[in-house]
């Protein structure tokens, strides 16, 4: 920030700007020579990929807003007009709709990376918490965006999700009326959702800025989870990671583009091509796939919590479900303070490694449950999966703090990368040498 030592640039135009506003010095420091652990694997691409998706969503979103009408009577029609009449409207809308899904794919993988390699641990707690804030903002933005086409799923999704707030004791109903601007989801609701859907991505950009700032204070974690000890452990960000990130971004975008062109509706729900009807609820209201695990947790609480065999109820099932769902995110905030184990990376935590991989499986099970009707075996399955999700954070992590052994950490990244004798990873042994 301060005007410390600044190396002059040779190009006079750049130097003229930089001596007045050292923006080129900043870029060079943070993205040119920035020392980055040299042992990143491809999981470290997903921060950059998520940033690209955010920019892509803002660009396509602003262009869509030039043609969209945020009124209950015209919204559905204006989206159809974008699809049929606006030049390349179909492309821009499909890029935006599938872009949301791929933004979430990138972010979920990014979160898994942080979990598995212990990136949330000291000194990166605040970095991690800012990440959870980003996730929450993304969820709010995606939810409101899905309402805008004003199809059946838009309308009923909005109804169900805004009704979550009615579970709050005493003021719940007033809050819901405030959110709706009426007595049901209607034109005022659509209008304000549009305003907020336009606003929140820019708030998101701000929080991403803080997230990156915090990252550049602590430096990146790495697959070994040990601190860098000097220049022999790091590489300059450019060209090594600008290249590696670019490669990862291109592979990711190829998959994204394949969806956008060849199966643009595969991640959406066909009912959203039916105009919203406040008198007919679709048989199965399902949110977008990226909300399904949390939706499953919401529906898993089918029982009141109170004193058994009496009518005394502390938490009704409805409030319990809402608390469990928001609690699932709150646990992520608490994680850096729950986990006190000395090793960061799951590579050196034999028990945590299994538990966190089971958590991933658990997340997928919840995702499947969330997409099924709440009946039959899906309910107990969702309940067991919810139980594991909570137990991972509140039972297993504290137990691991006490009892889990720590495998021997390598002395430094440099030595781990160069040593051919590291037990499992034959990282740099050439076939000829091995023979």
């Amino acid at each position: 920030m301060g005007s410390g030592e600044r190396k002059p640039f040779e190009n006079p135009a750049i130097e003229w700007v930089d001596s007045r506003l050292p923006i080129f010095t900043l870029i060079n420091k943070e993205y040119g020579v920035f020392p980055t652990p040299k042992n990143f694997n491809y999981f470290w691409n997903f921060g950059a990929i998520a940033t690209v998706m955010l920019v892509l969503m803002i660009l396509t979103g602003i262009t869509l807003a030039m043609h969209y009408t945020p009124h209950a009577d015209y919204a559905f029609e204006s989206v159809e007009r974008i699809m049929r009449d606006v030049n390349f409207g179909w492309l821009i809308r499909y890029m935006h709709a599938n872009g949301a899904s791929f933004f979430f794919i990138a972010v979920y993988i990014h979160i898994f990376r942080g979990l598995y390699y212990g990136s949330y641990k000291q000194p990166r707690e605040l970095l991690w918490i800012l990440g959870v804030v980003i996730l929450l903002l993304m969820m709010a933005t995606a939810f409101m965006g899905y309402v805008l086409p004003w199809g059946q799923m838009s309308f009923w999704g909005a109804t169900v999700i805004t009704n979550l707030f009615s579970a709050i004791p005493l003021v719940g109903d007033d809050i819901v009326t405030l959110l709706w601007g009426g007595f049901s989801v209607d034109n005022p609701t659509l209008n304000r959702f549009f305003a907020l859907h336009y606003l929140l991505p820019f708030v998101l950009v701000g929080v991403v800025g803080l997230h990156v700032w915090a990252l550049h204070v602590t430096g990146s974690n790495n697959p070994l989870g040990i601190d860098t000890k000097g220049p022999q452990d790091t590489l300059p960000f450019h060209p090594y990671y600008t290249m590696k990130d670019t490669f990862g971004i291109l592979v990711f975008l190829i998959i994204y583009v394949a969806f956008t062109f060849f199966m643009p509706n595969s991640l959406g729900h066909p009912d959203n091509y039916i105009p919203a009807d406040p008198l007919v609820t679709p048989a199965h209201i399902v949110p977008e796939w990226y909300f399904l695990p949390f939706y499953a947790i919401l529906r898993a609480i089918t029982f009141d919590v109170g004193i058994p065999f009496t009518d005394i109820v502390f938490v009704e099932a409805k409030l319990g479900g809402v608390l469990a769902m928001f609690g699932a995110i709150a646990l992520l905030v608490a994680l850096p303070f729950l986990d006190k184990h000395p090793a960061r990376s799951a590579r050196f935590r034999p028990w945590f490694k299994i538990a966190v991989l089971v958590l991933v499986l658990d997340f997928f099970i919840l995702m499947v449950c969330g997409g099924k009707p709440a009946e039959g075996l899906w309910v107990p399955l969702a309940q067991v999966a919810t139980l594991y999700y909570y137990a991972f954070f509140l039972v297993l992590i504290p137990l691991f703090n006490k009892f889990e052994p720590r495998l021997d950490l390598p002395p430094s990244i440099h030595e781990a990368v160069l040593s051919c004798c590291s037990k499992k990873k034959q990282c740099c042994s050439h076939p000829t040498e091995a023979a």
């Binding site: 009923w156 109804t159 169900v160 805004t162 009704n163 979550l164 009615s166 009326t177 405030l178 959110l179 709706w180 601007g181 009426g182 007595f183 049901s184 989801v185 209607d186 005022p188 304000r192 406040p278 008198l279 007919v280 609820t281 048989a283 199965h284 209201i285 529906r299 609480i301 089918t302 009704e316 099932a317 409805k318 479900g321 009707p373 709440a374 009946e375």
Partner: protein, 183 residues
């Protein structure tokens, strides 16, 4: 805080006086910020034209016994069912101990044959099925919410599933024997 004590102990008195100024300034600031924030929050509440649409009149004559109609009131569906004697009988004979949200059928109707309720599931706001003869009516012969599986009985009372309370009964009055005004 007289002048004399201030002269006696200038430093201590100066400090507490400064604190007092900070507190009052902050309090005025908070009141000011609150009074600016309130219009910005309250604008989200229902506007005057939205509130003006808050009553609906319904003519009940075309509804035969056993039939039900759905009317719109404040953007929400309202269920009006012309109940049969058997349905009234079943609703009246329910044991209150079996109910989650204990309410007698008499408390829920003005005239036993006309059941008027807001047709919105008290769980998360879906419209339950059960109005059309072909609809699933749930395990208690009333309404069934397909979203999260709540079952309501002949009186619209919650019997099974996640919903916490009975289907709401709106304020309504019989203008004549066969006309009601909702709201």
């Amino acid at each position: 805080m007289s002048d004399t004590t201030q002269q006696d102990n200038p430093h201590g008195e100066e400090g507490s006086r400064r604190d007092f100024l900070y507190l009052t300034a902050a309090a005025f600031g908070a009141v000011g910020a609150g009074s600016v924030a309130w219009p910005l929050i309250h604008q989200m509440n229902p506007a005057a034209d939205t509130l003006a649409l808050s009553t609906t009149e319904v003519d009940l004559t075309p509804i035969e016994k056993g039939q039900a109609i759905t009317v719109m009131w404040r953007g929400k569906p309202v269920f009006i069912r012309h109940r049969t004697e058997a349905e009234i009988e079943a609703a009246r004979n329910t044991d209150l101990a079996d109910l989650r949200d204990k309410q007698t059928d008499e408390d829920r109707v003005q005239k036993a044959e006309w059941l008027v309720m807001v047709g919105i599931c008290t769980h998360l706001g879906c419209v339950p099925l059960g109005q059309k003869p072909s609809d699933i009516k749930g395990e208690y012969n009333g309404w069934f919410c397909p979203c999260h599986g709540s079952h309501y009985d002949e009186s619209g009372r919650i019997r099974k599933g996640p919903a916490p309370t009975n289907l709401a009964v709106p304020d309504y009055t019989f203008l004549t024997d066969t006309t009601i005004r909702i709201g």
